[in-house]
Each structure stands twice: as C-alpha cells, then as structure tokens.
C-alpha cells in the first residue's frame, strides 16, 4: 500500500496548484461579474418581464400576464412615435452641437499657453453644473422680460416679445443648443487627449510637403481623432437619448408637446398615468433602437 500511495503523493501537488491557478482568475473577476449582473442584467430582465404584464394601477393594483398588450398599444400610439422622432432630432442635434463647439475649442487648447491651461479647467463648468442650476439659469437668460440672451435674440429678429421657449420650433432648438453646450466639455477633454497623442513629426512632414493648415487638419488631425470623435459621440449620443432633466426643467415637454422626448413620455407614463408596464415596454423599444443605432455607428470606425 505504501508503495502504491507513495508515487501518487508528489503527483497531486502540481495538479492541485494548476487547478487553483486556473480557478484564481475566475475567482478574482467573480465579484465584478456578480455586481455587473446585479446592477445591469437583473434590472433589464425585470423591465422585460414588466413590459409583458398588464398593469394600469388605476384598474389593476397588481400586475398580471398581458403578453404583448403593451407593445400592441405602443405601436398604435402616434404621440409616442412623434416623441421618438423628436428624441432622434434632440440626440443628433445635441451631438452635432457638442462636435461643433468641442472640436475647435480642443484645437485651441492644444496650443501650449497659460491661457489654454486655465481655460481648460474652466471649460468643465457646464459639465459639472447640475441640470437644475443650469435649467433655471437658462430660463432667466431666456426670460421674455429681463433675459439678456432673449434681448439679443429679439434685437436680431429671431424672437418676438415672448421667450423663445414659447415657440415650439425655437424652444426645441434652444434646449438642443443648451444640451450640446452642457455636454461639450466632455468632448473637448476627449479630443484634447487624442490630439496630444498625435506625433508632431507628422505635422512637420505634412508642412514640408506643402500642406496648409486646413489640409493638415483634414489629412492628419481628423483621421487621428476620428475614432475618438466617434466613440465619444456615441457615448454622448446615448446620454442625450436618455435625457429627461433638461427639457423637463426648462419646458416640461412643452409648449404643447414640442419638447416632449421619450424620457419625458416614460416619466409621464409611470408617474402621471400610473402605467408602469407600458413605460417598461417603451424602455425596451428604446433600448433596442439605441442598440441598433450604436452598432451602425460603430461600423464607421476606422480600422487602420
């Protein structure tokens, strides 16, 4: 027996160590996977389950299985699809404003100077200021009676006696610009980081080849920051798509429904109409649309 057991003892050591080694990475990532599962997958599963329930709190205190009843209502809800349309305009407009303001400012800050260093800290202000403060601040600036920006708009003939927030088209444009202005610092920081990583000798080589400032931007800078622009654009676009705070504080979704985006529709479905299951169905559709749009957008990434 002793001889039979003897050789197997040293053989078990490496096997045990190797199993431990194999299991260790799983053990290390397990807590993170568990947390990710708990905070992302479980709520998503709950929303999906909820969207398949029939639950109008005024008629039914507890949810019962409703199958596709909410999706059926949703596909016939014209005001919801109008809100989806507005949300795309809002999202694309917000990202456009962020790019339009963010890229030139990042290019400016890329020049080494004390002014750019100071300004790059100040530029973060809109990003870190809470929506409530910004919302009320902008409401004052656009006040039809005493708002300074409203006064300028009136002088330029862009607005009448009342605030631009009273006009359906101008109200949407105004809050898109404000939303883009708030998100712009994130774009500036990301683009600035990408700009810093471009080797200077490429610019020197382009200059030697006779490329002017515009051609250097188009052929050197833009390709180098393209993936950053795309990735940050998608992230900011997703944030914009899920917005609620700014349009709610500024206009409550009005005038009429002019600034009612999907976030506001979901809020109203839950807290005003007491239809949580219907709101869940809207969220699922929102998620699917955004997922498809993000996949399509990521295809625009440069491979080289």
């Amino acid at each position: 027996m002793a001889t039979a057991i003897g050789p197997s003892v040293p053989a078990q050591g490496p096997v045990e160590r190797s199993t431990l080694d194999r299991m260790l990475p799983y053990g290390l990532v397990a807590p993170a996977v568990f947390v990710a599962f708990a905070i992302a997958v479980v709520p998503m599963g709950y929303v999906l389950w909820l969207s398949l329930q029939d639950w109008y709190l005024l008629r039914r205190p507890a949810p019962v299985w409703g199958g596709l009843i909410n999706y059926n209502q949703l596909f016939h809800d014209a005001s919801l699809w109008a809100a989806f349309g507005r949300t795309w305009i809002w999202t694309i407009g917000t990202v456009f404003v962020e790019l339009f303001l963010g890229v030139p400012i990042a290019l400016l800050f890329n020049r080494e100077s004390s002014v750019s260093r100071t300004a790059s800290a100040l530029i973060l202000l809109p990003w870190v200021t809470p929506f409530v403060v910004l919302g009320f601040g902008w409401r004052f600036l656009l006040d039809g009676d005493v708002g300074p920006i409203q006064g300028i708009l009136r002088m330029l003939g862009i607005s009448g006696t009342g605030s631009v927030l009273n006009d359906p088209v101008r109200a949407l444009i105004a809050i898109i610009i404000i939303s883009g202005w708030k998100g712009m610092p994130f774009m500036v920081i990301a683009v600035l980081a990408a700009l810093k990583s471009i080797p200077k000798d490429i610019y020197e080589a382009a200059e030697v080849d006779g490329a002017g400032a515009l051609r250097r931007f188009y052929h050197v800078t833009l390709p180098a920051i393209w993936n950053t622009l795309l990735t940050v654009g998608i992230v900011l676009g997703i944030l914009a798509f899920y917005s609620f705070d700014l349009p709610w504080i500024m206009t409550r979704g009005g005038p009429q429904t002019a600034t009612t985006i999907v976030g506001i529709t979901i809020y109203k479905a839950v807290f005003q109409e007491l239809r949580p299951a219907y709101a869940a169905a809207i969220s699922v559709v929102m998620l699917v649309l955004l997922f498809v749009a993000s996949i399509l957008a990521l295809r625009l990434r440069r491979k080289d």
Partner: protein, 436 residues
Amino acid sequence: MKLHFPRYFASRFAQVITCVALAVTACANLAVGETHIVFWQFSTRDADVAGWKNAIAQFEKINPEIKVDMEIVPWADQQQRLVSALSAGGLPDVSMLGNNVVAQFVAAGSLTPVDDYFANYNKEHGGDVAADVWPGDKGYYYLSGHWWASPVCVETRALYYRKDLFRQADLDPDNPPSTWEQLATAADKITKAAKGAAYGIALSTSLDYYTVQNFMSAYLGYGARMIGENGKCGFNTPEFKAALTVYVSMYKNHSTHPDAPSMNGDTFRRGFRDGKYAMILADPGLYGDLKSDNAPFFKDIGIAMVPAGPKGRAGFLGGWPLVLWKASEHKEDAGKWIMFVTHSDALRSLATAANFIPGAVSIAKGSPWNSPPYALFVDQLKDAKPYQYPSEAIPQMGQLEVDTIQKAVQAVALGQQSVDEATAQLCATIDEVLAR
C-alpha cells in the same frame, strides 16, 4: 486538547456580553412595546416642520407606546415616491396627500377607509367629525360610501390687488373686479397705464398646475363641467368656450407676462411680491409673505373674492388630508395619530404655527381665522369646489388637470389652436383617458 484558558475565556466572555447586550436591547423594545408609525410629511418650510414636530411630541406624550417617525418628502417628489413605493414596496403607514389624488390611490386599492376611526372618535369625544369637513372637500374624500382621508388643511385663492396701481389707471380701488370680464378689462387698463412698469395680472397659461388652479374658477363660474351626465367629457359647450376665451384674452392683450405660456406659479408669485403685477389669485399665505418682505406697496394691498362668472362664483379648492395606507401593519395606532392631529387642539396649534386654514370647519370659524386676511378666504370656502364639480372625484384627475386642461389653455394662448379646436382636442383626450 490543550486550551489557552485566558484567551478561551476572554473570547467566550466577549460572546456572552454581545449576546446579552443584543438581548437587552431587543427586550427593551419589547418591554416598552413601542410601535413606530412612519409618517410622510410633504412640506419643507421651517414653520410647518416645527409645527409637525410639536404635534408629534404632544401625541407621543399622551401615547407613550406609539412613536411617530416623520420623514420629509418634498411636495415636488411625493408623487414619484408614492408611485414607486406603490409598485415596489416601502409605503409609509400614514402620509399627507394632495386632495385631488386621493381618488387615484383609492382606485389603486392602496388606501384604507377611515370610517371606523371617525366613528370611534365621535364615540369618544362626541360630535360628528364627518359633518365638520368642508362641503367641497367631501367631494374629494368621501368616495363610494366611505371616508378615505381626514383633512388637515384647506385652501382657496382670492384676488390680491394693488390699490395704488388701480388709482393710477383711474380705477376705483374700493371696487375691485367681481367678474372675469371686469378682471380682464381692469388688467388691460392697468397694463396700459403702467407703461411697462407692471402688468395688470399674474396669470399663467402654461403647463404648470397654477394654470388649472386659476382657470377652474373661470370655467366653473361660467357653468362648464368637466364630466357630463353621460360620464364623458362635458367641456364641449358654449360655457366652457366662453370661459376659455375670456381667460386667454388676458394673455392675448398683453395684460400679463409675455412668457405666461411657459412660466410657473412660483415665478408669478415672486413677481407679485417684487411689484411686477397689479393683481394675482393667491392663497392667504401671500399676505404674510408681503408683510415679511416689507413690500413698499403693502399698505395698498386689497383682497377680494375670486371673480364670478355668469353662473356664480367658484373658488379653487386646494388642501391636503392625512391618509392611512393599506400596507400599514399598525393601522390602529396609525389611525389614532391621524385622528389626533386632524382634530381639536392639535390641529388648531398646527394650523396656527404653519399658517394655513384648518380642514375642520369648527376650528376654521374660530380665531385667528375669523379676522383679516383669513376671514375672506374662510368665507369664500363655501364657494370653493373641486375641478370636476358637480361630479364625484375621478381617479384620472392627476393626469387630466395637467395634460389636457392646461394644454388646451396653452394652445389657445400661443395661437396654435382656436378655442373650438382646443376644446375638441381636450374632450377627445379626456374621453380617451377615461376609457383607458
């Protein structure tokens, strides 16, 4: 087995001490037999919070076995908190509630009737607490043959006006507008006479609650009703259209702020306190605010009843009661708290501290509510009516007041729809919501 006695005993000793401490703590609670009532209170004003704390202290003094844990949930967040708790759990035992949404939570099956507590209170103290509720409030709290709430506060709006600006516009300061037409005419004259220094009236046409709270006095005064005899929208009538026309005319002829279609009630109120408007429909609390502001025009402030329509006067009927949630595990004790604080001396003290008109008629007819400025408001309460008057409260009111009535007012004010179009659209939406 070798034991390390000092370490062994130290460890055991610590375990025993911990167990004893836990047991003593648990027994202490059990011995006293305390019940904790979770109470959601919606006001964040210091005076209100102090008033509630005082009421809780009085209650706990005479009921030492019951502790009331007050949690402040701001008015702006209360609907979200309640609906979230309703669907995910976590409702309190007792809470305040807007009078217009009591029916909503009754329909959701989440409230407990308080009839038994009313009956017990009557037996113990004599009198009839149900008869002491304001007539208008009964429409909100007495549903399907049961009482679902016990009123704490009741509110109505009267017309504050500035006599100095009336004189400037050659209007009689002792003869304020008593009809909606007179109000519109006076607002126009004052605006013109003020030449940009002030607007005639602070009148909202936005999606803010302040719009429906003002406009309801107009449409009820003109004889319009929200729900017709057939249970469907009753607004598609000449009376409603006349009310909508006269109300919106004050925006259209520039008698109010140009941003009225996007402004909220707080901004208008602040503006009146700053001297920007000659008239505003507001609650009694504004009088105290103007006094504490030391407003230069304070001595020129007059208060009159809300303007009437061709079919009479209808004041806004605000207010909030306490309700008992079905999820409560301490209903008897929670009921005791509700009855204590909504009646007798406790309510009188609370209403005096927090500066509101009590929901019990007998208390509101005593001091200080029988003298200015309250007396006029108390007098007007007999004409205060719910939005859906004369129908019984409907569960969908929370949605209808915001998303239908106010939208119609805003659409006409901004010229996006005519009165006829807005009314037709309004009724289509109301019927759709009612049929849901």
